[in-house]
Subunit: 323 residues, 2 copies
Amino acid sequence: MVTGIAGATSVAAQGKNEPIQPITPAKVTNPGKVELGKKLFFDPRLSKSGFISCNSCHNLSMGGSDNLPTSIGDRWQQGPINSPTVLNSSLSFVQFWDGRAKDLQEQAAGPIANPKEMAFTHELTLEVLNSIPQYRAEFAKVYGNKKLDMQLVTDAIAEFEKTLVTPNSRFDQWLKGNKKAITAEELKGYELFKSSGCVACHNGEAVGGNSFQKMGVFEPYKTNSPEIGRAGVTKEDADRFFFKVPTLRNVELTYPYFHDGVAKTLEEAVDLMGRLQLAKKYTPEEVAQIVAFLKTLTGDQPKLQLPILPPSQNNTPQPKPFN
Amino acid sequence: MVTGIAGATSVAAQGKNEPIQPITPAKVTNPGKVELGKKLFFDPRLSKSGFISCNSCHNLSMGGSDNLPTSIGDRWQQGPINSPTVLNSSLSFVQFWDGRAKDLQEQAAGPIANPKEMAFTHELTLEVLNSIPQYRAEFAKVYGNKKLDMQLVTDAIAEFEKTLVTPNSRFDQWLKGNKKAITAEELKGYELFKSSGCVACHNGEAVGGNSFQKMGVFEPYKTNSPEIGRAGVTKEDADRFFFKVPTLRNVELTYPYFHDGVAKTLEEAVDLMGRLQLAKKYTPEEVAQIVAFLKTLTGDQPKLQLPILPPSQNNTPQPKPFN
């Protein structure tokens, strides 16, 4: 579906009053940093087992997610929460479902040392990287004489992640003035998405990702998940079940849905959101229209050459997958 | 280390009498098939959990191996044997350490349905693929009207794997006549590799992969591994501890070594091979020379664009990571 982009007048006219803005392509100012960050993102030696990398749960072949209800961690531990997509995560106002990290750099340090995820330590991460001459040289090239520490590791990962935006979705083409980029059915879905109130939370460039909202406004959300959301960070009872509104960009690729990953299909998710958040029971036709609209939010996926990781050396700490 | 290739005369003169031949780059005759095979190779939906793909244990960022002693399978089961590299596997005369598959296509069917590996079934694999319109379309484009069955799935994977050769190693450049492609130390290592008998088994284009040999000729190999090798296939007692000689191409990247993955370094592996297979105790200098030679066998790694996998549909069988 290749469609041209109409002129600037039309862009201004159509896009200006919409609650969703097109994604701006990433500008890479330091390609060396991005390339280094990509290697780290794909390197399972940042885990205790030597088996789990960032890409294991934020799989860039699969919408930047793992498409599982909750993730698989070290020794196959069941994670507590659905893995959010890394795509367009730079557009989120905070990171994690509960917003406990202020930015991507802070986020990146978490899973490496989380005993339920990669189960490693920051000390061993640095020992691994420092033992590998190609990594040392690459850090030196990008960061000069700075000591190789977790600040640099997470900075490089974050710089890579900032490139993982997905511009040029059909909806963005429509926003920019190409009326033919979406169908009449999809447009109906968008109109309904606006008129029934979804845009109150799902707005902006990421169609979400810019506020905490309570899961279950008009009805409580029934779940077996023990997650309490924002309250776990603020310790305020009023924040119970408040979660960061997820981005709807590429939502066609990031199933299953919600923080507990229980909604298997977009239809289920839309129906439930209507009832719980808007006190609205969509008809099957309305659900289908909104789902059709949501599928227009799939953008160009990052084109990435698979990194070749520099080999471990004799003094590199060994992975410990089974002990 | 970019080095030119000398003229044809020199190639013929130098390469002809050597027991190792340069790797021929892969010729892709059907790029659609290769691209489809690449998607399947990277698709964790070919496993019960939705988490393990071919690339999990034959990681193309890591020399086509997992760099673990033995692999991690479904529910973190410990595999019985070291994951052999997929790089240059098309040059092996048979597949698996015990040669139980005659070619890559036959091999590819194994791990998908092995309860200790991907733990899926062929039936569910086909149900998953058939439920995804983009996969159906891609199979139809490549294979015409043929029914989507495991023959096609494994054919596509095998066609992709055939492209995973690593030509242009420094040693191959030397074989082709560029005398400066390897150092004097590396050349000494090669001469020793030949004169002390390593080439009896490690020869040909893959520097191995073309015979079964007994692990432990002059001394028994001490291991906790219960694997008996070729005898498991032939049921002949005489074949106990016979394994396919592994390729030494990219051996710098495919640590740890041997079928049980117990040798952590090339130095250990060379020392042990000398004693067990050749009744020869190499001096530390000799070990260092052979290791230096072995590291010249690292070739150009396949340049792969990470595939974008088509999304599951509402009727796609769900992965079962925890049940």
